[in-house]
Amino acid sequence: MWAFIHKLGSPKWFYAIAMRLQPWFWTAALVLLAVGSVWGLAFAPADYQQGNSFRIIYVHVPAAILAQSCFIALAAAALVFLVWKIKVADMAAAVIAPFGAAMTFVALFSGSVWGVPTWGTWWIWDARLTSMLIQLFLYLGVIALRGAFLSRDSGARAASVLALVGVVNIPIIKYSVEWWNTLHQPATFTLTERPAMPPEMWLPLLIMVLGFYCFFIALTLMRTCSEILKRESAKRWVRELADEAPGGKR
């Protein structure tokens, strides 16, 4: 187990394994997203209350879930990098952060668009919405901090520390934001109270969530490999690999 982790930590090994796994995840993502989208957009029944605006759920919820998972993945990668000094973990962190921020943005955007027909407003200061917004700021902070250092190594480690501090804070933030909202007034709208969905509504949702996860994994593997090519460009195996690799001819 130990040995395996350390092997995986070596860029060469990680590259080999990741490149092998990658096509499978891309395929899975493509299939799942295609099926889920068609099902969700065209075949799932309309909600009896919200009508067709309900179909936003099929992008909103996967994005929201993934946004939170990404932060946990980011913090895990940061921890691995700081404690075991495994460079691949940092390369993964570097590519996870922007994608997590993008997913947070998607959740916020789709949610506020959804809010107009259902709540009649783009934005309310609800606990969940607010903590999502704060999460976006945390992502931006991690990205900005990494970019602000001239030396890549320092930027990497600083961003890792911030990701860890942030992940300690996320539960505290969630808890406090909920406390804060119930303090002033009962929440006007809730996200959780809704009638149980029939399977033909939640099955496509499940498919979409899985599709988003596969997409995330495929993208992370691919971009981490590109990052390896960049950072390890002086190594012989990378150069030999470049000679053999197809594409890039221009």
Binding site: W123, W125, L133, F137, G147, H184, Q185
Partner: protein, 232 residues
Amino acid sequence: MRVVEPRAGLGVAIAATVKRDLTLMLRRRSEVINPLVFFALVITLFPLGISPAPALLAEIAPGLLWVAALLATQLSLDALFRGDHDDGSLEQLLLAPQPLAALVLAKVLVHWLLTGLPLALMAPLLGLMLSLPSGGYGVLMLSLALGSASLSLIGAIGAALTVGLARGGVLLSLLVLPLYIPVLIFGAGAVQVITLGGNAAPHLAILGALLAVALMLAPWAIAAALRISING
């Protein structure tokens, strides 16, 4: 070796200074988005600190937006001359044969382009989050665009005065905030008037006039302040 005669070249010098400052800011892209994020963050703090009730927020929205934009501009000003001072290029700027006021104006222009203008463009989004009544958005942007130019100019005077000091940050706020008050009153006033159904034109006209005055006087004041700071 013969004496070199002063040559014109003011245009070249200004263009190069604008280009240099743009490059410097854009090279660290985070420098450009930071004031925007700060703006958004401060706006987020208010509902958290005050109350999430939309009616209350709508009432205080113009004031909150303007105060937050003002603080964001002002904080980013601290760096306007500090970097140049620390590495000695401010000394060289002062020893350039070109009129200092013009060079300094170029620096302020870049600051406004990358801070004030984006803030103005972003404000409607935050207005939405504070439930600002529709109808106020155009005036919000216009007043911020006009006003933030004055803020950059006035703030640069403060930045120039404090550049020699180790910790300018808070001191700068102190010097500059009182001068910001007229801009704040007419800027927030314009937005408030329009959301209450009035006519914002007079307020905007005054903002324009303030900007004209600032444009005429501030560059000289900034140049003088820099000379004083470097002298110590």
